[in-house]
Amino acid sequence: MAYLELNNICKTYGQGANEMEVLSNINLKIEEGEFVAIVGFTGSGKTTLVNLINGLLAPTSGAVLFKGAPVVDTSHERGVIFQNYSLLPWLTVEQNVLMAVKEAFPEKNKKELKTIVADYVEMVSLTPAMHKRPKELSGGMRQRVAVARALAMKPEMIIMDEPLGALDALTRGNLQDEILNIWGKDKEPLC
């Protein structure tokens, strides 16, 4: 049994005359510890596929199985990094990551949580920006915060939907290396 399985996934948007089949008969098996990149043209269904895997969308037919169990909703075990970073603009960097960590580890007390946050923000080299709001950061920094937020929840699998798409070529190159480094440290499957 593979770590993540997609069996005959079909996804259709719209109804009746406006029906549009975006994914048709997708099969995929990912094992633990793998780094998988899915490439395709725009409009080919990459975001749809990613959202099916992380649980934000449900397939029209077929099944998504994670560790053998069907995926019904989102879960802390599958961390997500969005294309638009999706940081909450009224919270600081620390508060954004803290919110994720608090949900993932409800049993820990505030001091432990803050230590975790500090560690992960340090990992993405953004400690000087701990108390800044997203609008005071550049695109690359915001994406690094999103990476920290996803990793801090210690998920079993990280799903990234075109995380470097909104960045310039230089930053993209840097962040690609950083993500590989981080993956090297934690060894979660990246997708």
Partner: protein, 368 residues
């Protein structure tokens, strides 16, 4: 240096940016660019104010002449030459009994303003003296379980201003406490939205006069046993109901149009319902909620005058109505003073809301 930077930031924050330009002029740090901006922001408004007062004065004078001429001609037709001559002399001498009743000039309005302030000082002094005189007596009455004797003199203009402000804030608070929670529920649940939509659409355009009558009917029956003055209660409840619709609609809209990205974040982090509402939905919709509150406060201030007039609540509305009914020679001027006071207070209330909105909003843009 640091203090002046902070002062500059504060005045810009309060929407009174030209004060910081003025300050720069005095501290000698004015650049050429800033000087042009200063000209535009201070000299031009000042010039237009002076022009306005000038036009007002000319208009009032010509209206005065029209009214005086009419009166003299009428006296000539009805009572003959001597009466007309006497009237003409009377008007020219500025005798208060025969002045034409028309738009007052700026000078007259300024005189009325000063007389209202003098009147306020006299009444305040009277009130203080009364409280002193009855202090001992009232202490005995309270000890014996009887009600204290209160001052029942007429309220001064400044007292009436305070009464109006109290009423508008009470009404605004009522509107806020009803509209914000209700708006949140309607925005979050399409079922509730369908349930309430007809109600909102029908009651939103109802005139303040009709709201006052509606509230009067209900409150009069509820307070049927009490012989207290219910005019304040009826006023602030009417003001609240009239003005709450803007907040209600804006809150519902703000809550239902939260950016999908933030909802996705809430789903991915698996936030509970309460958490989702208080940590994602509410902060995200605060700008729209505050826009609604700003509109609510300005509507409340506007309908307040009409409602106070109807409810005979001793505020600015009653003041204007009484002066109008009085028809005394300086009543028109007093009404104009009230108009400027109402306008200036409305402007300050709006600035207050803008300041609070800037403080709370996370994108710090100047909303409309």
């Amino acid at each position: 240096m640091k203090a002046s930077i902070t002062l500059g930031k504060v005045t810009n924050f309060l929407g009174l940016g030209f004060f910081s330009t003025l300050k720069n002029l005095f501290t000698g740090k004015l650049e050429k660019e800033d000087f042009k901006v200063l000209l535009r922001k201070t000299i031009v408004p000042l010039a237009s104010i002076v022009l306005f007062i000038g036009l007002w004065h000319l208009g009032a004078k010509s209206l005065y002449n029209i009214e005086a001429k009419f009166k003299i001609e009428k006296a000539l037709k009805d009572q003959g030459q001597t009466a007309a001559g006497a009237l003409k002399a009377c008007i020219a001498s500025g005798e208060s009994t025969c002045q034409p009743n028309t738009l007052p000039s700026p000078a007259q309005v300024w005189e009325s303003y000063k007389s209202l302030l003098r009147d306020h000082h006299i009444i305040s002094a009277d009130k203080a003296a009364f409280i002193e005189k009855t202090a001992v007596l009232n202490a005995k009455r309270i000890a014996a379980g009887k009600a204290a004797i209160t001052y029942t003199g007429r309220p001064s203009f400044v007292d009436q201003i305070f009464r109006s402000l109290q009423t508008v804030f009470a009404g605004f608070l009522l509107a806020l406490l009803i509209a914000v929670p209700l708006g949140i529920f309607i925005g979050l649940s399409p079922t509730l939205k369908s349930a309430f939509n007809w109600f909102i659409q029908i009651f939103k355009p109802v005139s303040p006069v009709v709201w006052y009558l509606l509230v009067f009917m209900i409150v009069k029956t509820l307070l049927i046993d009490s012989n207290e003055d219910s005019s304040f209660t009826i006023s602030f409840i009417s003001v609240g109901f009239c003005s709450m619709w803007a907040t209600l609609v804006n809150t519902a809209m703000g809550v239902s149009t939260v950016d999908k990205d933030y909802i996705n974040v809430a789903k991915v982090l698996k936030l509970g319902t309460f958490q989702k509402i208080f940590k994602v939905v509410l902060p995200s919709s605060l700008p729209l909620i505050f826009t609604g509150l700003k509109i609510t406060l300005s509507v409340a201030w506007m309908v307040l005058i009409a409602i106070e007039l109807l409810a005979q609540s001793p505020g600015l509305g009653l003041f204007v109505w009484e002066e109008f009914q009085n028809g005394a020679n300086d009543s028109n001027a007093k009404i104009i003073v009230a108009m400027f006071v109402i306008g200036i207070i409305g402007f300050l209330l709006d600035r207050l809301m803008l300041t609070i909105q800037n403080w709370v909003s996370f994108d710090k843009t100047d909303a409309i």
